[in-house]
Subunit: 321 residues, 2 copies
């Protein structure tokens, strides 16, 4: 939630038959993950991966899930590397693997980190190329933040409350005020476990409520129905593209909205998510736009719209050092 | 349920760039489907399919679903043809498309149709190569049928009650007796809508209860949890491989058992299901073994085990006339 100069992600390079797939995962502090433990988790299955048949990527990932408890970022890095390898091997971009049309990729929000009103105004001005902004809320300063944003732009806003409101009446008050400020939806207004309180809130507001921290596993999604209007699926939360695909499809089959989100990471992780983005209603895939040392070029953003690379696998190109 | 000399299925041939994918769907009378209407449904989207990009198969199937109400067999035929085309185009068998290991394909049951005890004994003897049998029950003659089977074999049995028991106490009595006869699980003991009665039955029996007619759409699966132990997924019910994959994954993510079933059809439809079979606990994929005029050779059965063709796409080979 705060600005920082340094984010540690884990990387996997999977080489077989002259083809290298790359993967990345961003450990999520909220789930007590860190890069060192994620790295150890990856090393714990290295021998298994070396001897596995990468054509059996779904079976391999099921075995990885059996061997590694938690550590979703580590799993995501492995899954993405295998899918990149397979896409390159069969010669199609991963969006084509999933049978999708790259032209259906949505507009991504651009995140405005929490800051004082002056800095917020400056950040919003700098975000001029992005037609939809995502604002972090859930603090005492919410009104001041939104007013600062609104003093310089009329763009649609989406907000992430990050479990910030502990009281359901406060949540209703905040959400209804945010609606009056042109906010399209609210992500995770209340703490993850407060499903029933969120159901109560949802019945008293008009804009959609999306689950993030409340929804980690496919089996969580049916429990969300009725309390939330949709789910935010992140590869670092699900453990990769295959599971993210499953969660999106489950949510859609239950009539829920879907969103793809990401952590702060390089183009490896964000491009992986972007290949699934033609499936979803909303995208919040700006993690790679917030770093200075991206080793790859992959998904691009043009007037906010995600432009998927039309190259096999993830379609990444190394950035010249 | 009864023996018959003739089954009508619908077929799709999809040719693009020198590659032809084939698909098949078997209309299900229970859902008021028939081949003539399925054929009309296919023709209604023919122009759209001709102008569509088959690399966007998932998007195309979503559009097919929007344009065709019901007619799942028609949708299955189109979906299977597109997936066969794509698998051939990228040069991998469809089980590899799904990242699976062909060696994980399960043993299929072989179905013994309802008949008098003499004929039942003869059918069971003829089914000698198949290590697990599926028996249709749900009639007054259930005891006589099972006793006839048991008089000639000790093989594990699975039974399909096809909504046959209307009374929940009768269902409990029957199921507990069937368990004593070496039956592994019961499919659809009660009418599709009797979810609560089935939940009551389930709490009083020891062998798993699988849903067939109760479970048509992905959104049905969460409602089944607790009333059934698993679901029988059929391509002709789901409208193809993509949706069947989703249903299997949803059921698994909810901790339910999964089974792939089929209607009586050629190797086209049964092979499509077989490519997904490494994902499931149980297979009932013998529809092609019950016909005399199979135009293709695809999945084979050796000692009951499904042997998937190691060729691109469905991997079908025309049978010389």
């Amino acid at each position: 939630m705060s600005s920082s100069d340094y984010r540690d992600t884990v990387h996997v390079r999977y080489t077989r038959g002259g083809i290298t797939g790359v993967g990345e995962g961003a450990p999520i502090v909220r789930y007590r993950e860190n890069a060192a433990e994620a790295q150890r988790a990856i090393e714990s299955v290295q021998q298994m991966l070396v001897s596995a048949d990468p054509y059996q990527f779904a079976k391999v990932m099921a075995e990885v899930a059996r061997r590694i408890e938690g550590q979703q970022a580590a799993k995501a890095a492995i899954d993405i590397a295998l899918m990149d390898w397979f896409g390159q091997k069969v010669g199609v971009p991963l969006y084509t693997y999933f049978g999708l049309d790259a032209a259906d990729a949505p507009i991504t929000t651009f995140s405005i980190g929490i800051d004082n009103p002056d800095m917020t105004r400056q950040k919003v001005r700098e975000a001029e190329p992005y037609p939809i902004l995502k604002i972090k809320v859930g603090l005492d300063t919410d009104e001041a933040t939104i007013e600062a944003v609104r003093s310089v732009t009329k763009k649609p806003l989406r907000v992430d409350a990050n479990e910030g409101w502990k009281d359901k009446e406060e949540a209703v008050r905040k959400i209804n005020w945010l609606e009056s400020q042109g906010v399209e939806f609210v992500e995770q207004p209340m703490p993850a476990a407060m499903i029933e309180e969120t159901r109560w809130v949802r019945s008293r507001v008009h804009i959609p409520i999306l689950a993030d921290e409340s929804c980690l596993h496919p089996s969580d999604i049916p429990k969300m129905a009725g309390a939330f209007d949709g789910v935010n699926v992140k590869l670092d939360k699900t453990g990769g593209m295959l599971e993210a695909y499953r969660m999106i499809e489950i949510a859609k089959s239950l009539g829920m909205k879907t969103m793809l989100g990401c952590m702060i990471s390089s183009s490896v992780s964000v491009t992986a998510a972007a290949h699934l983005s033609p499936l979803v209603d909303y995208a919040d895939l700006d993690g790679n736009l917030l770093i200075a040392n991206d080793p790859y070029s992959g998904v691009l953003v043009r007037n906010g719209k995600l432009i998927l690379p039309n190259r096999p696998g993830l379609g990444l190109m190394p950035v010249a050092a």
